[in-house]
């Protein structure tokens, strides 16, 4: 494996890891403050117990998200020094604001975790809300920086130099809004379904069902609403990509030929040699409509782009199909959940709970797949149409060892966190009500 591949894998791996923890750390505070509010309103001790156990989850995920985020902020420079040398001053704005948001979050979390019974009830609850809001704000800001890599703006690129830098314009790049919206909804969907799944499993196993049903309801409400809204944001993203990064859209759909009235491919196996997709379901003219709002619009195919400016079509296509497939599934189940609120008998059926147990990891699989679409779809560019990834990589040889080290460390951490969460739930089930 050469240095570039090793660095790319390391970056991919650390991002895949960080995203999971960052999303949970960003979304769970909202579940926590809802439970907390219910405790304040009803004084039902089950809610207090739930709040306190979720708060431990928030603390653990926040810290792991924070340390892996610190690692990433260094890795940007350590792995891609040439990129950071030029991009740093341009996208520094979202990162410095993110630093500020993150700081606010850490301060608020300090108050929340240690403030029980020590600061006024209202202020204490409010610090929990701040944790959530600051978390979402930092998520949006980081995604904005990523958006800039897809839609570089806020500078003039003259003779290989980045001149007339405008950090505000870079922050508000054309991709920031669609990407951030899609990501925030994805985070809520993924975390909502994951947390709901964990509690559904406890209900399925008939452990402390009252508490876990309450927890399930809070988490899945967030997840289901986000899942139902997600297609709107997906549509905005697709239209945006069609305009800005047509080659990415072509790879997502594995479209080789430029066509008017292009069909939408669902599934299928990509044959890169023959440049075709077999075993797919074809919906006539749908892609043209989805991308441009016109059934007869022209969609550019991969063949119209130089060979060395195309991303890995198979990976992008499969990842995109996975994301959309799971997204649709979660949307349907989200609707089922709202129906179940009317049909109470469903809640007594163990199959209902099993469904949510099986869906627990799905949101995160879709979320990772979505990031693969964005990131692999941007290749070979690190800054779209400006700088290639291979020109940005560190000149230090031997990155493969660094990759091995990170993969070992993060694998251990993943196992450790899962183990820790199991212990949390076990102790929650074993302990009496407060």
């Amino acid at each position: 494996m050469d240095n570039l591949d090793a660095s790319r894998l390391q970056m991919a791996f650390t991002l895949i890891f960080h995203i999971v923890f960052a999303c949970i750390g960003m979304v769970m505070p909202f579940f926590m403050v809802v439970a907390h509010k219910k405790w304040l309103n009803t004084k039902n001790p089950v809610y207090l117990k739930l709040t306190k156990s979720w708060q431990k989850g928030v603390a653990i995920f926040f810290v792991i998200g924070a340390v892996s985020g610190t690692a990433l902020s260094f890795e940007l420079g350590l792995l891609w020094p040439e990129f950071m040398k030029h991009a740093g001053p341009i996208i520094g704005m979202p990162f410095s604001l993110e630093g500020a948001a993150f700081f606010v979050e850490a301060i608020a979390l300090g108050f929340y975790l240690y403030g029980w019974g020590k600061i006024s009830e209202k202020f204490h609850w409010f610090t929990g809300v701040i944790v959530g809001i600051a978390g979402v704000a930092s998520g949006i800001l980081v995604v904005s920086a990523n958006g800039w890599m897809n839609a570089p703006s806020g500078f003039d690129y003259i003779n290989g130099e980045f001149l007339n830098i405008d950090p505000v314009k870079a922050l508000l790049n054309p991709a920031w809004f669609t990407q951030a919206l899609h990501m925030v909804l994805a985070a809520f969907t993924a975390t909502g379904f994951a947390v709901a799944g964990v509690h559904a499993y406890q209900v399925y196993k008939k452990r402390q069902t009252d508490l876990h049903k309450k927890a399930f309801k809070i988490a899945i409400t967030f997840g289901a609403i986000a899942a139902i809204l997600q297609p709107i944001s997906g549509d905005l993203s697709a239209k945006d990509i069609a305009k800005r990064q047509p080659v990415k859209l072509a790879a997502m759909e594995a479209h080789y030929e430029t066509k008017k009235g292009a069909p939408l491919y669902i599934g299928g196996i990509v044959d890169v040699e023959k440049k075709e997709v077999s075993y797919k379901i074809e919906i006539p003219k749908a892609l043209s409509f989805l991308a441009f709002g016109d059934f007869n619009a022209e969609v550019k195919g991969l063949n119209d782009f130089p060979e060395d400016e195309r991303p890995n079509v198979a990976i992008v296509h499969y990842a995109f199909q996975t994301m959309v497939g799971i997204g649709t599934l979660l949307l349907v189940v989200g609707l089922l959940f709202f129906i179940s609120l009317k049909k109470k008998t469903w809640w007594l059926n163990n199959k209902f709970w099993l469904l949510f147990v099986l869906l627990a990891p799905m949101g995160f699989i879709a979320l990772e797949a979505g990031w693969i679409v964005t990131e692999v779809g941007r290749q070979p560019w690190i800054i779209h149409n400006i700088m290639k990834t291979k020109d940005a990589v560190t000149p230090m040889p031997g990155m493969i060892y660094s990759f091995y080290m990170y993969i070992t460390l993060y694998s251990i951490l993943t196992v450790a966190v899962i183990w820790l969460m199991r212990r949390q739930i076990k102790s929650l089930n074993n302990s009496k009500l407060v």
């Binding site: 950071m84 001053p89 080290m405």
Partner: protein, 339 residues
């Protein structure tokens, strides 16, 4: 605006060293304690640092962001040539943060605590050493900046600059500074017998700091390391170090009189003086290579970028610093209420 940015860079660095330093020191104090006092230290550390430790470590992110936005070429040299020690620092920060949380938030307090404890202590000890070695790498004069990587061996370019006696000494010196800070901090949190333990630790840490400082400078002087010789020749530097040394007397007195705030402020001030001394020695040349010096000012971004960064930092500072102050203050009050 450039100087506003530099000011924030310096403040973040100092705050990171003092606050995170005291945090690292907590693990080091534990590492070098008897079994019984380890448990006491663990509890005290958690009580003192629990609410603030996360905020303490964000200063490094601010520091990195200021560097890459404001001084991209400078940051570029660090990330390319000091890749390995920086990676080791990251590894340490990750292990430490994780261990700190695991040991306090694990639902069961059983044998796994032993593992978390050791992870916490070892990484607390090694991380500041690697941080110091990174700083040593910047200052040891062993860095080779080149366009043609084929001309040199991997060892010459990527290992030797930070893995040499001078840098290792700086690493140890920084770890000792952290221990010094924490011991002083803990004195104020302990009662009677425990208090005596921390007083003793503080005394030992002070001796080690002075001794290591002396060794670093003599080594640098003997082997003619530019940073060290410059340090010894610069009148401002020497006066700052002397002032810091002189402060030991009021520090000892305030420890004896159990003046918590006074002793902490004095210890913090001493460390700040030493750091500022190191910074003014060659300002603005913060990287000294084998044949050149790199001025941080010359690597600054364009005016437009610096202006925006400066303004963001001022606004950010206005929002964050009062909140942070309130956090520190609140939990100090709570501790008094607990007693």
């Amino acid at each position: 605006m450039l100087y506003v940015v530099l000011f924030f860079l310096m403040v973040s660095l100092l705050l990171y060293v003092i606050l995170a330093g005291a945090d690292f020191g907590a693990g080091i104090v534990e590492l070098f304690s008897t079994k019984k006092s380890q448990q006491i230290t663990k509890k005290t550390v958690y009580r003192v640092m629990g609410p603030v430790w996360e905020a303490n470590h964000i200063w490094i992110i601010i520091l990195v962001v200021i560097l890459w936005v404001g001084f991209p070429e400078f940051y570029n040299v660090l990330t390319v040539y000091l890749h390995i020690p920086l990676t080791l620092v990251l590894l340490g920060i990750t292990m430490r943060g994780v261990a700190f949380v695991f040991r306090h938030y694990d639902a069961y307090k059983d044998k796994s605590q032993i593992l978390y404890d050791w992870m916490f202590r070892i990484s607390s000890f090694l991380t500041p050493i690697f941080l110091g070695m990174t700083a040593g790498g910047m200052l040891s004069g062993e860095l080779i900046i080149t366009q043609d990587y084929e001309l040199f061996t991997f060892y010459e370019l990527f290992i030797n600059p930070w893995f040499n006696a001078f840098s290792i000494l700086i690493g140890l010196f920084f770890a000792a500074l952290c221990t010094f800070l924490t011991s002083i901090l803990l004195i104020g949190e302990a009662e009677r017998d425990d208090r005596r333990i921390y007083v003793k630790k503080a005394r030992n840490a002070t001796i080690v700091v002075i001794l290591l400082g002396f060794i670093v400078l003599s080594y640098g002087f003997i082997y003619d390391i530019i940073f060290a010789t410059g340090f010894l020749k610069n009148p401002y530097t020497i006066s700052l170090v002397l002032l810091s040394a002189f402060l030991i007397f009021p520090l000892l007195k305030s420890i004896k009189q159990a003046r918590k705030i006074m002793s902490r402020s004095l210890a913090g001030l001493q460390v700040i003086l030493i750091l500022i001394a190191a910074m003014v020695t060659h300002f603005p040349y913060f990287i000294i290579t084998s044949n050149d010096k790199i001025s941080i000012l010359e690597t600054a971004s364009t005016n437009e970028v610096t202006n925006v960064l400066g303004i963001s930092l001022i606004i950010g500072g206005l929002i964050i610093l009062p909140g942070l102050f309130h956090l520190f203050k609140s939990f100090k009050m709570i501790k008094i209420l607990e007693k």
